[in-house]
């Protein structure tokens, strides 16, 4: 086995991820067992992977990252404008007043919806002052029902202002002992957007899945998770979430 091929094909990385076919795995073991160069690479890679996993877990245990509250400013500006309209409307006793009132009541309803969304977001935004360094990480818990359910999902994912990378950290059920998982991402119409197999959990209780933010539009989604073992699969739960901009 020569080193050029080992490096070019990322064989040490694939070995650590258990992604090598068994024949290649055995041959690579027989090579690296006495090869200091490959052993150095294996150890360095494993150490880096372990640190990345710990970093990911540490990030997911914090509140959801700060999102600049442009929405809040918009909402307050809107509220001010709505109030001005209200005052102005009070001075008018013409037919326009009724039209204005109708429009105002529609605007107020929208405003209330915006406020509710903002309240939920602000709870999550909390006091984290640090800007995010790398990726947005969103913990998701198991939910009942799918994206078509009337109840809004408790899980929220906020898209970054510029396209980037999102990590969805799925809280695994206590009973899950599967090393491999399958996750199917569907939109609110049930269209399969992504079907990922052989996912390995980053720790005993979480499974991290990364997506490009550009894959999502605001709306409701659901990830159906299955545990995989010996060619069989077992449903573990659904993770409904709402994507917000």
């Amino acid at each position: 086995m020569d080193h050029q091929e080992i490096v070019e094909q990322n064989i040490p990385d694939l070995y650590l991820m258990n992604k090598l076919p068994s024949e290649v795995r055995l041959r690579f073991e027989e090579h690296f067992v006495s090869c200091p160069e490959c052993l150095n690479r294996l150890e360095a890679t494993e150490s880096l992977r372990s640190a990345l996993r710990k970093d990911l877990v540490a990030r997911t245990s914090r509140p959801i990252p700060v999102v600049k509250s442009r929405t809040s400013l918009r909402t307050y500006a809107f509220a001010t404008a709505a109030a001005a309209i209200l005052i102005f409307a009070g001075l008018l006793a013409t037919r326009e007043l009724l039209d204005l009132r109708n429009r105002l009541s529609q605007a107020s309803a929208s405003l209330e919806q915006e406020r509710n969304k903002n309240a939920a977001l602000n709870d999550q935004i909390a006091a984290t002052a640090q800007p995010q360094a790398t990726a947005l990480v969103f913990p998701l818990v198991i939910t009942r029902g799918g994206p078509d359910n009337a109840t809004p999902p408790v899980n929220r994912v906020v898209l970054p202002e510029t396209p980037g990378w999102l990590v969805l950290s799925l809280d695994l059920p206590d009973t899950s002992t599967f090393e491999r998982h399958r996750a199917v991402l569907r939109d609110s119409r049930g269209t399969v957007l992504s079907d990922l197999s052989n996912l390995k959990s980053s720790s005993r209780d979480t499974l991290a899945i990364s997506f490009l933010s550009s894959r999502f539009m605001p709306g409701d989604y659901v990830i159906s998770l299955e545990g995989l073992t010996a060619g069989r699969s077992m449903p573990l739960g659904n993770y409904s979430f709402r994507v917000l901009r």
Binding site: D2, N10, E29, F32, S34, L39, R41, L48, W165, E179
Partner: protein, 200 residues
């Protein structure tokens, strides 16, 4: 995936080492242990069955290998590495079978062994925190968000290299370069931290 042939220099080294051990050369046995110990440990620690007993099984592998070579049981000295790996794999299988039998132990014994497991110490927490800080430093030093994304998607989300390269518009070469730099930078920073700690 195909892999190239074995290194010729490596095979002749192995044959020479085997002949010295068969001749009773103690220094050759020590060299054998020094050369193979690390690799055997990696194999044992990667196995889900024998991970906990890796150190003990490593000693057993080395002992059995040396004794077999002394007795002339290794028919093809050029296959020394394969022979050593074979012993390690057999020990893993045997250990797995024994462990399966042990699973029938009474519940209280199992609880005792669980209770005896060492809780994380302050040092563990410190090392963990340092690992996180080190890896964040490495991530911050990467020149672009794309490189950071690549690292996470490959090592954590375990996505296929090909799809990552296509998504991010990077070449194979650039992909490998990013992994190499991140790995080396992390190793240097973390080793520096460990050296500092041991000097204190």
């Amino acid at each position: 995936m195909t892999l190239g042939p074995q290194r010729e220099s490596g095979t002749s080294d192995e044959a020479e080492l085997v002949s010295k051990i068969r001749a009773g050369d103690i220094a050759a046995e020590e060299e054998f242990v020094a050369r193979y110990r690390r690799g055997i440990l990696v194999i044992l620690r990667r196995s889900s069955e024998a991970r906990d007993a890796a150190d003990d099984l490593c000693q057993d592998t080395l002992r059995i290998a040396v004794e077999s070579i002394r007795r002339g049981e290794l028919s093809d000295p050029d296959r020394l590495s394969g022979f050593v790996c074979g012993i390690a794999r057999n020990l893993i299988l045997n250990y797995g079978r024994r462990a399966a039998r042990r699973e029938t132990l009474a519940d209280n014994e199992e609880m005792d062994s669980l209770a005896a497991a060492r809780p994380p110490t302050q040092l563990d927490a410190l090392l963990r925190s340092e690992q996180i800080q080190t890896v964040r430093k490495v991530l911050d030093e990467l020149p672009s968000d794309r490189d950071r994304e690549l690292l996470y998607r490959f090592y954590i989300a375990e996505e296929e290299k090909k799809s990552i390269c296509e998504d991010l518009g990077v070449s194979d070469l650039h992909f490998n370069r990013i992994l190499f730099r991140a790995r080396e930078r992390y190793r240097l920073l973390y080793e520096k931290y460990l050296r500092k700690r041991s000097e204190k």
